[in-house]
Every structure is written in C-alpha cells, then in structure tokens.
C-alpha cells in the first residue's frame, strides 16, 4: 500500500477551508445551548409543574437516540413539515431555499442543549446548600444569592463537562456532511471520491479534528485555571 502524499497535501489544505464552517456550527450551537441548557436546568431543578417533566422527557429522548438518526429526522422532517405549513398558509416562501447549514444549527443545538441541561443540573445540585443559606443570611435576596454565589460556583463546576461536550460537538459536526453542509468531512469525502483516495482523506481530517479538539481543550484549561483561582493553594511562609 502506498499513500498518495501529493493528494494528501492538497486535500489537507482544501479540508482546512471547511474549518470555519465546522467552527461556525460548533460556536453557534454551543452558544445557544449554554444559555438554553442553563435555563432548562434551572427549570428542571425548581420542579415547575408542567415544564419540568417536559424537559426531563426531552433530555431522555435526545440522550436515548443516535445523533445520526436525529440528523436524518430533522433534515428530512423539518423541510417537509415547513413546506406543508407554508403551502397551507399560502405564504410565498420557498422552503427548499433554506441553506442546509441552518438544519445543522438546529440539530446540533437541540442535541447539545440536552447534554448541557444535564451538565448544569448536576453542577447546580453539587453546590452545598450552606452556600445559599449563608448568602441569604448576609441579606442577599434569592436572586442575588444565585447570581453572586451559586451560579459562578455551578458554572465552574460545569466547566470540565462543558469542555467534553464542546469537543464532542466538534467531532459530531463531521456528521453534517449528511445534510450536504460543506464542512471538513464533507470536503474530504468529496475529494476522496474522485480517485478513491479515502485513506489519505481520512488521515487528513483525522489530524484536523485532533488539532481542533486539542486547541479547544487548551482553551478550556486556561478558562478553568482562571475560574479556579480560589482553589490554588498558597503556601504561607
């Protein structure tokens, strides 16, 4: 077996051009999911009558099904559904003109939100009840007690899991090729198919994903270090 190194080099640079799309999906999905996941976690913890069971069911549903299936369902179901609605209401809008990446945003946000809801829920529950009692005792309202004392600690506790979720999200976006989004994997697959150089292509993006994930882990390591300033042990002399 001989690797076509010339092809590898070429494809590597071509696949790199897909990185912005990969990162775009990752960042948008992550950004929305962090906000949404945190809110859903709060609702779940506070046992809101109707909302909490719905959230619990949503989280179980997402965690209990393969991501590939979620992609296939969203990508085939939503356009048809939208189209039916559009036609019924006689709106002049072509559903088929929606860019595929929009569906990627939707799938990965739905998926990541469920994971982060769990992450934030466990992080919030991990904060000692005494922290809240102390905050209330110094005269803070429950709102300020949460904002000043509980949430920062919970967020810090959640950081390692947010990092894991982010890394998984980046890797997960490689499935976006199924929605004909031209991200890293899609480009590599297309290039490979011209001359059946699949091994070379896959090795290329293997490296690209590895670098991306290492970078993300590095960034999170820095954030964690910042957030955990209060955990550093000062040796008193």
């Amino acid at each position: 077996m001989r690797l076509n190194t010339e092809f590898m080099k070429e494809t590597f640079w071509l696949a790199l051009e897909g990185v912005p799309i990969t990162l775009k999906i990752t960042i948008i999905a992550l950004f929305i999911s962090i906000i949404l996941g945190f809110i859903l976690a709060l609702v779940e913890i506070h046992r809101v009558r109707v909302a909490t069971p719905i959230i619990t069911a949503y989280v179980s549903l997402i965690r209990g099904t393969p991501q590939v299936l979620q992609i296939l369902i969203v990508y085939s179901l939503i356009p048809s559904l939208l189209n039916a609605i559009v036609q019924k209401m006689e709106i002049n809008f072509s559903v088929w003109d929606i860019e595929p990446i929009v569906y990627a945003y939707i799938v990965f946000t739905i998926n990541t939100t469920a994971l982060l809801t769990e992450t934030f829920r466990s992080a919030l529950l991990s904060i000692d009840k005494l922290q809240m009692e102390a905050a209330l005792s110094v005269g803070l309202t429950p709102f300020w007690a949460n904002v000043r004392i509980i949430f920062p600690q919970a967020f810090e506790a959640a950081l390692p899991n947010i990092c894991t979720t982010t890394v998984n999200l980046i890797k997960g976006t490689s499935l976006a090729f199924m929605m004909s989004v031209k991200e890293v994997t899609a480009i590599a697959k297309t290039q490979a198919s011209y001359g059946y150089n699949f091994i070379e292509s896959y090795l290329d993006i293997f490296v690209i994903y590895l670098i991306l994930c290492l970078l993300v882990q590095g960034i999170f390591a820095i954030i964690e270090k910042q957030a955990q300033a209060h955990r550093k042990i000062v040796r008193s002399v």
Binding site: Q131, E133, S137, L140, W144, I149, Q153, H230
Partner: protein, 250 residues
C-alpha cells in the same frame, strides 16, 4: 428586642419545635443548651427563616412577623437586621475573606464600595485576620474561616448575631480563640444568641441560659441561678456529668 412567640416546626411527622417562646433583650447573650435533637439549632434557624416555622410569631424591634404570612420582602428585611454564624463556617467559596465580608454590605445593603471595604477590613482586623484579606476559604484553616464568618457577621452591625454551634467543627486548640472573640463581642454589648455545647463558656459569658429538650424550653434563667440551682429534674440530669467533672461549676 427579639421575641419568638409560640414557634412550631415539624419535619414531616417529626415535631421538632412544640411551641417555643423566647425573649432576648438588647445586650443579652443567650446560650441555648440541650442534648442533640432537642431542637435548638432548628429554633435558631427559624429566627431568620432558614427554616420556615409552621406557626408562630417573630418580632425584631419594629418588625413583627407572623410566620405564616411573612412575605419574601419581610424575610429579607429581617435577615438584614440579623447575622448568622454557621457551624461549618458557610463562607462563600468563590470569594476572598474580604469579599466574603463585603458581600452583605455592597450587594445586600448598598453600602458604597470604599466604605464597605473599610468596614470589612475593620471587622477582619478585629478578629485578627488583618493579614488574610485576599485569602480564599480553601487557603484558611478552620479557625480562620470561622473568624471570617464572625467578621462577616459583625461588619453589618446587626441587631442580633445568631451563632449555631460556632466551635463544634473546630479542633480543641482553636475553640478558645473563637470563644474569646465572642466573649469580647459580649463585653462590647453585642446582642447574641448562641447554640453551644461549651458549658464553661455558657456559664462564663451568657447572661441568660435556655435549656431545651424534646422541642420545648425545659428551663431558663440567668446564667448564675441556672448553673448553681437548676430546678427541673431533666436539667439537673443533663448537667450532672459536667458538675461531676468540673468542680468549679458548682
């Protein structure tokens, strides 16, 4: 100044407080004694609604709250007039010693930053931590953490400071340091309610002693008469072991 009337509290079917009345005058140091499970900590916690009593009235100066009708606003108002020192310190783990003390001033009471910092430093100096302003709780020993807890309490000039077994989590060497601080606060005229197992301390510092058992106050009185002539059989029984070991109590 602080008055509790007919406080009832049950956890499920377990009735922990069965109608407790307590009166605390300005400058009093009230020690609440009693065996474990007698409801003394619960009583202390109901004062600031850390535990919401099922029934009863809580009066603090001009604030008169029926426990069942108290609104969130009332409760916050009450909490701003009091301070609580916890058995396990309860310091904010994400804040330095100074920030721990300042939190109740800047955020809760809207004291300007500069003044808050000045007051917080004074409070920390008072408990002997002038060299630990910027230390996080994880960098402080248990005794130091409890000092921060006390500094946090006194910095807000509360009408009454509530102590929940402030020395129970400390090793014996550090206990006396904390008790000395509370003693000096008593000398300055601070009003305090202290749940404690430290008999010698209660006898020495408290002006008023309350003995609880089974969710009711069995006996109360001035420190002197309480320790020298306990009236109730249950109280005598409880103190017998202290009296037999520490002669000077008699």
């Amino acid at each position: 100044m602080l008055e509790l009337k007919n406080i009832h509290k049950a956890f499920g079917k377990n009735e922990v407080l069965k109608g407790v009345d307590l009166k605390v005058n300005k400058g009093d140091v009230v020690a609440i004694l009693g065996p474990s499970g007698s409801g003394k900590t619960t009583l202390l916690r109901t004062i600031t609604f850390l535990e919401k009593a099922d029934q009863g009235e809580i009066v603090l100066k001009d604030l008169n709250l029926d426990v069942q009708k108290a609104t969130k606003k009332d409760i916050t108002k009450l909490r701003k007039k009091t301070a609580f020192v916890f058995q396990n310190y309860g310091l904010f783990l994400n804040k330095t010693a100074l920030q721990n003390v300042m939190e109740g001033l800047t955020i809760a009471r809207k004291v300007p930053r500069a003044e808050a910092e000045k007051r917080a430093k004074e409070a920390l100096d008072k408990v002997g931590l002038s060299d630990r302003y910027d230390y996080y709780p994880s960098q402080l020993s248990g005794g130091q953490q409890q000092r921060v807890g006390i500094a946090r309490a006194i910095a807000v000039n509360p009408d009454v400071i509530l102590f929940d077994e402030p020395t129970s989590a400390l090793d014996p060497e550090l206990v006396s340091g904390i008790l000395d601080i509370i003693r000096s606060l008593a000398k300055e005229g601070s009003t305090m309610v202290v749940v404690t197992h430290e008999m010698a301390f209660a006898q020495d510092v408290a002006t008023h002693v309350v003995f609880m058992d089974g969710g009711v106050i069995v006996e109360e009185g001035s420190s002197h008469e309480f320790f020298s002539h306990p009236k109730e059989e249950r109280t005598k029984q409880f103190f017998s072991r202290f009296i037999s070991t520490d002669n000077y109590i008699i």
